[in-house]
């Protein structure tokens, strides 16, 4: 046990850290290679790729689409997730179990299946593939997480708080806007960042629900299938740094607001990419 504690466990841990970071570091380095091919060793270095990808029109267009989709899907997800959480909080027993099961259902389906089912659905209701369809798909995927986060926060709110406000003369609308929503705001901000990230890095739903325009992950996927240059490594590194920074900030933000362990990004996790 002493041996395990002193050497083997820390050794395995740092090996794991290397496993997590080394490939990303190597990819980041590849972005500096002064050549048209992805290959080692790197003999000549350049920052040209990092500069160039930021002017690549296709990449910029895909990032813009991804951003639009993320914002739209997050908005839908929160607007729908809120009432779902309110309804769930009102129910109890078997009804609550059934409701929760239905709410989290999309998170338990294989992603491909869920994406395809939505593809059939939008075809039936006459929605074209494209930005709206992708945003819709992402909202479906992220709504369960909004519900879980809001519900956790809602459970910590004593019933008396809304009653006290009512007693002091606040009607139901004022209770909603002055008491409930402000109280939920940490959970809502956390859910906002979570949904943005979830949408931004989704591939499968964007792939099946997208039209001619590609979101960033779809663009990256299709380029990777037809050969690649160090520029892809450069843009991947940039995106990786931005999302990781955003994710860590979100994590810290949520923790600092004492939202409780259950609502942090880590504990809810995400089940689909």
């Amino acid at each position: 046990m002493k041996f395990l504690r002193r050497l083997a466990l820390p050794g395995l841990f740092w090996l794991f850290v290397a496993y997590m970071f080394l490939p990303l570091a190597v990819m980041a380095a590849m972005g500096f290679r002064d050549s048209n091919f992805v290959a080692f060793p790197i003999q000549a270095w350049t920052t040209q790729w990092y500069r160039e990808v930021l002017f690549d029109r296709d990449i910029l267009a895909s990032l813009w689409l991804s951003a639009q989709v993320a914002l739209l899907s997050t908005t839908i997800s929160i607007l729908v997730g809120l009432p779902v959480a309110f309804l769930t909080a009102r129910t109890s027993g078997l009804l609550r179990g059934a409701l929760v099961a239905l709410v989290v259902l999309p998170a338990f389906l294989p992603v491909v299946v869920s994406a395809i089912a939505l593809r059939i659905f939008i075809g039936r209701i006459g929605l074209e593939t494209g930005m709206l369809a992708i945003a819709f798909g992402h909202a479906v995927a992220s709504m369960p997480f909004v519900v879980v986060m809001v519900l956790t926060r809602l459970n910590s709110m004593g019933q008396n708080m809304a009653d006290a406000a009512r007693n002091l003369g606040a009607d139901d609308l004022i209770v909603l806007f002055r008491i409930v929503l402000p109280y939920l705001s940490p959970a809502l901000l956390g859910a906002f960042m979570f949904c943005m990230l979830l949408s931004f890095e989704d591939f499968v739903r964007s792939f099946f629900l997208g039209g001619f325009e590609q979101t960033f992950p779809v663009l990256l996927f299709s380029r990777l299938r037809f050969g690649f240059d160090p520029g892809l490594a450069a843009i991947s590194t940039i995106i990786l740094i931005v999302t990781t920074g955003f994710g860590l900030y979100a994590e810290r933000f949520i923790r600092s607001r004492r939202l409780g362990r259950d609502t942090s990004l880590s504990a809810t996790g995400k089940t689909n990419d």
Partner: protein, 309 residues
Amino acid sequence: MTRLLISLRRFALYRGLLELYGRSPLLRLILVAIIPVLWIGATNITPLFQMVEISFYDRYPVPQGEPIEWTGRHYATFFERPLYITAFLRSFIFASLATIVTLIVVFPVAYYISKAAPKNMRTRLLLLVVAPFWVSEIIRSFAWIVMLANRGAVNSFFSLIGMPGTPFDLLYNNVSLTIGVVYLTSLYMLLPLYAALEKIDDNLLEAAANLGAPAWQRFFRVVLPLSREGIVAGCTLVFLLVIGLYAMPQLLGGPSNTLFASTIGQIFSKAGDSWPLGSAFSIILTGSALAYVGLFVALFQRKRRGRAA
């Protein structure tokens, strides 16, 4: 905002509506429930039913003016073609193996962070490992392509140290796919495991040691039973994630070892009239995956004795 809402109360109609809403529990329930019921019905239930429906269509979309022909032939196709059954079985075997590998790789890491590392370092270590959580499947795949390609980092390293026979064919096989998949899934395993292990009271281990239990007994009779919930949650998450993987197997896996999710995706990417077949396959995959996971969870839940292991 508040002032506006308060001044609105001057109007009798608004006051009346508020009173009506305040007094009628039924109206409250309806207003709160309307969006959730519509949304869940439309997005979480209807698409699945439509999928089931279409899987029994002979063709989709149904040509103008022709009646719908119902058939079970798409389900039959699955059982008639060894190609599909093989892909299906390969998917389940691969997902199970990947889950086990992930568990073995991640357990010591989670144990180290939650129990063995110095107390003041634990949060920081967790944050360090969790940092790459949000890197997407595609970027992760790409990073491993750069690592494992014929002129990638690993081969370059091997030839640098003078290993004969380089470059090795490291990419596009089951090993490279497993490395990439575990790279993707390990954080989904880490978080539930960490949460479960962290809850175990350190005093329990000391008590066990005090009662004379050797290290391996402490591990198998105290730590493992108490972290069972975390293990079950992590394995469920990871299995469902892997069984639905679409992009990574195409980027890192071999061309001959197609997984079932990719098969379904490819069927769907073709012309629209292959949708019934794809739907049938989707239902087969979903049903079996949920049953498989359900069985796994039930088996573990049944074994559970009291809390005091």
